[in-house]
Subunit: 178 residues, 2 copies
């Protein structure tokens, strides 16, 4: 998918609406991917956010040890692969091969970009003090990519038990000081 | 709006998809409300989540001092009031009166429920160690209310600059172990 560099100051607009993302890591040359919905913005610029990665996830060790990852944002076309990635473990399966996802080299981290995702955020872990208690990692985006001409992407938002909201309808309201 | 008590174990399904919420607080008998999009689940049961409330917000002091709040979830019918609440300050305005929102007494906290919101989560602040650095409060829901027969609510998800995704289309995918 053809992508362009995106200003880091615009990253919040991709994550604030709460889409499911695919977190990629790499450890000893072995890439892995997991879906993630438990994420919040913390700061606009530089874009910082916090996300929950459980120590039951195979990605946990790679994230904690390498302190690098990529937050990839899929659209509805990838919904089945997202669910599949959530129902398999990188301990047993190469999820990229299994689900036909294409890893591409990132510019600033060792973890791969997922070509099929419309946006990719290269991130570094900047704070692990909340990991032991909440499995909460604080990330800062170091580089952002977005598909050329990506307008109104059909992101998916998990409601639990396989139900997803699909971002199709949008409204614009004037943000006027009253 | 007629509401019923909701099992706390189901609360994550309301917040995980990332809707804008209206945070209500009360301080010295004065209720206030602010929109909030920077929130993530931390734990399923008891439902714990983390949210960002800046010390520039009038709600910050009430939340920190009372350690109580209600997370109210609006639907698209309330979109203009949500934006209005974000463009005014409780320092100057009674937002309930200004925007026609009805405060109702909660069962376990002093902060009010917003009658017009389809779901209301009564919460206590359980951890403030991330407030100084990230304005991040850790909350635990103590009581949850949902509108009777609320199915597929049209929540709104903020993309920035007045753009919102409206939850209208949903898909269900089987969550099968592969």
């Amino acid at each position: 998918m053809k992508k362009r560099s995106m200003p880091l100051s615009k990253v919040y607009g991709l994550l604030e609406p709460g889409p499911v993302v695919l977190l990629t890591t790499a450890w000893k040359g072995q890439p892995n991917v997991m879906p993630m919905s438990w994420l919040t913005m913390l700061e606009f610029s530089p874009p910082q956010f916090a996300c929950v990665v459980s120590n039951r996830n195979h990605s946990f060790d790679a994230l904690r040890k390498t302190r690098q990852c990529v937050v990839n944002i899929p659209t509805a076309e990838l919904a089945e692969q997202v669910v599949g990635c959530g129902n398999t473990s990188g301990r047993k399966v190469d999820k990229f091969k299994r689900f036909g996802l294409t890893p591409l080299p990132a510019a600033t981290v060792e973890a791969p970009l997922i070509d099929e995702c419309y946006a990719n955020l290269e991130c570094r872990v900047i704070d692990t003090r909340m990991v032991n208690k909440y499995s909460l990692f604080v990330l800062e985006a170091t580089k952002a990519w977005i598909a050329s001409g990506a307008k109104r992407p059909r992101t998916i938002h998990h409601e639990g038990r396989g139900m997803f909201i699909v971002a199709e309808r949008r409204i614009k309201l004037p943000s006027v000081k009253l």
